[in-house]
């Protein structure tokens, strides 16, 4: 019966306009609705499918401000059993290395974990690095970009999808898996799940609780920093080709010029 940890992150809704704060280029959390990242819903779903087939327990781990509770609640209402929420003002502006370090410490708080499931890349930062860094820090195998996960006893089999093709990976537990878009279709929480989630335990921790010095985390101590950020230019109207008998070749010329054909 696997003891599964799922990493979840609250992100600005991709349906709303997302912005960085002008002062320090950190995420402007007030500019958009905050939701549980969709790729994390898939991670939760995969954990729940494993639990439904094999038993065990699903613990949600999240690093984020207080209001990330909403994202955690959603994962719990989908069916996860309990949660660990690391919330600390000192974490503001942390980069992937710092975040992974905090996550590693938080995962360590989950006694006897077998498997960590994460989304392969958050829709806000899009670094796609945290699962791999976390696996290194935990000293366990990393099986990233999974489109299929099978667990047989303590043997984990994963189909890893990349642009080059499919790679079949195998590892022994404990391990870290990150899942891609194709892994599954996440369920919607039911009302019963929503009501049950209210009673599920959420442990809230500070970085000090994890034995991490506040000076190691946060924007001021990050290994990377954002120097400049500009909104994406509005989409241009495009180029209209009027067919005067030579429309086909004009379109072809355009595509050649763009190096598309």
């Amino acid at each position: 019966m696997p003891n599964i940890v799922v990493l979840v992150k609250q992100v600005p809704d991709t349906y709303s306009e997302r912005k960085l704060a002008e002062s320090d280029h950190t995420l402007d959390r007030d500019s958009a609705d905050a939701v549980l990242d969709e790729i994390n819903e898939r991670a939760v779903e995969e954990a729940l499918l494993l639990k439904e087939a094999q038993g065990g327990e699903v613990t949600v781990v999240s690093v984020g401000p207080d209001r990330a509770t909403d994202a955690i609640r959603k994962a719990l209402s989908m069916g996860a059993d309990k949660a660990v929420h690391v919330s600390d003002e000192a974490l503001r502006g942390s980069d992937v290395l710092q975040t992974a370090k905090v996550l590693a410490a938080a995962v360590g708080k989950v006694e006897g974990y077998d498997l960590v499931i994460a989304g392969n890349e958050a829709s806000d930062g899009q670094a796609g690095a945290v699962p791999a860094i976390l696996a290194e820090l935990l000293g366990v195998p990393q099986l990233t970009h999974a489109r299929k996960v099978e667990l047989d006893g303590t043997t984990l089999k994963v189909e890893r999808e990349s642009e080059e093709g499919i790679t079949r990976l195998e590892a022994s537990l404990p391990a870290v898996v990150s899942v891609g878009e194709k892994i599954n279709e996440p369920r919607y929480p039911s009302f019963k799940g929503i009501m049950a989630a209210k009673k599920k335990p959420v442990e809230t921790l500070t970085v000090a609780d994890l034995g991490i010095d506040a000076g190691e985390v946060g924007l001021g101590n990050a290994w990377t920093s954002v120097l400049e950020a500009a909104p994406k230019p509005p989409r241009t109207a495009g180029q209209r080709v009027t067919d005067e008998g030579d429309g086909g070749s004009k379109v072809a010329e355009y595509l050649v010029a763009q190096k598309l054909i």
């Binding site: 919607y188 929480p189 009302f191 019963k192 929503i194 009501m195 209210k198």
Partner: protein, 384 residues
């Protein structure tokens, strides 16, 4: 003093259904509507997320929620599409609720677990070809022959009655004449596929085109005597209470449509230009949208108030009728104005407002016409 905020669970449910409607219903429902096709896959998904079980106890596969939770789900669905909303409304409040409320323990065990999960649908046959609001004019008869009821007659405009997953229709029938000359009405469950029970092909409708609505005919349909719901002769009282609740549900659905019109217009007026400016910069458009929002908002307050009384167990007939009347008006007015704002595109089926326009009219008719609501309100006030 009063607090109209939703509690955490109801708000989480509302958001979940909002997300579901946006991601699962909105992208595909237009095609189902055009093809007049019942969206089985969407209904199955609604079932899996527990929407058909919202007001029922867990004992029968329900979610352990309340009727207000159902109303919120209906509102959010109808903001995007009314066909799926009415399929849910009819499945829950007309299909499963009479059995849940008035059925025996055995009937509940037998039918509810698959109705509350949406795997199967129930329908309720009250209206007849010759009488809608005049429910006392029931002509369908049921006569006891040994240990079976023999049913003859017909029903009209019955939602969910002919889908592939329809399990049963509860029909009202005249089972006797009382000493005072009035008809004695009893509700009886007829399982789909019972010999002599014919389901006609789907009506061609003005709106709600992705929902299933049919005429039913009964020719010597025999069902076991134990298929009656509650006591013999209680059918009239039963459906009156079912209809009162149903009015609050239809009010919620109407508010959803009214709000959906505002949603669509807000998007459109920020994009569409006329005479060199976005049309949202013109006061003529701004005032229309402000009025639409006022109607949706006040109608929502009316159905919240009715639902609050209902959940407290107080009489809510008057409030239900008011909510139904004001919200179906709001839906109709908003659909007309939204279509006007969209201009020619409003008349095209590819834009949701055209669908809203077609779906709005029935709201002033079904579950008691607007005239019936006024009648009920006046009667509650002691007039006439």
């Amino acid at each position: 003093m009063i607090d109209l905020r939703l509690d955490e669970e109801h708000e989480a449910l509302r958001k979940t259904v909002q997300e579901f409607a946006r991601d699962e219903v909105a992208p595909v429902i237009g095609d189902f509507y055009e093809r007049e096709e019942f969206p089985y896959e969407i209904v199955a998904k609604m079932g899996r997320m527990g929407l058909f079980g919202l007001p029922f106890s867990e004992e029968y596969g329900g979610m352990g929620g309340d009727y207000f939770a159902l109303c919120l789900a209906l509102e959010e669905l109808a903001r995007v599409d009314s066909s799926v909303a009415i399929t849910l409304e009819a499945g829950v409040s007309l299909g499963a609720m009479p059995i849940y409320r008035f059925g025996t323990a055995e009937q509940k065990q037998r039918w509810l677990p698959r109705l509350t999960t949406g795997e199967q649908l129930g329908a309720f046959g009250l209206t007849e070809p010759g009488g809608g609001s005049d429910a006392g004019a029931t002509r369908t008869t049921a006569k006891l022959d040994g240990d079976h009821w023999v049913i003859n007659g017909s029903k009209a405009f019955i939602t969910n009655s002919g889908t592939d997953i329809t399990e049963l229709v509860t029909v009202t029938a005249v089972t006797d004449v009382k000493p005072n000359g009035r008809k004695e009405i009893t509700a009886i469950v007829i399982p789909s596929g019972t010999s002599g029970f014919t389901v006609s092909k789907k009506y061609s409708k003005v709106g709600w085109n992705a929902s299933d609505t049919r005429e039913l005919a009964f020719a010597d349909v025999r069902v076991p005597a134990e298929n009656i719901i509650g006591e013999q002769g209680r059918g009239y009282a039963q459906f009156l209470s079912i209809l009162d609740e149903g009015r609050v549900a239809i009010a919620a659905l109407s508010v959803g449509l009214a709000q959906g019109c505002v949603d669509e217009c807000l998007r459109y007026v920020g994009e569409r230009e006329a005479f060199g400016h976005k049309i949202g910069t013109y006061q003529a458009i701004q005032f229309k949208i402000a009025d639409m929002e006022v109607r949706a908002h006040t109608a929502r307050l009316a159905y919240y108030a009715a639902a609050a009384k209902m959940l407290r167990g107080e009489p809510f007939k008057r409030e239900a009728a008011i909510a139904k009347l004001v919200s179906s008006n709001a839906a109709m007015d908003n659909a007309r104005e939204a279509t006007q704002i969209f201009g020619g595109y409003g008349f095209m089926n590819e834009f949701p407002v055209g669908r809203f326009y077609r779906d709005a009219k029935i709201l002033e008719i079904g579950e008691g016409t607007s005239e019936v609501q006024r009648m009920l309100i006046a009667r509650e006030l002691g007039v006439g």
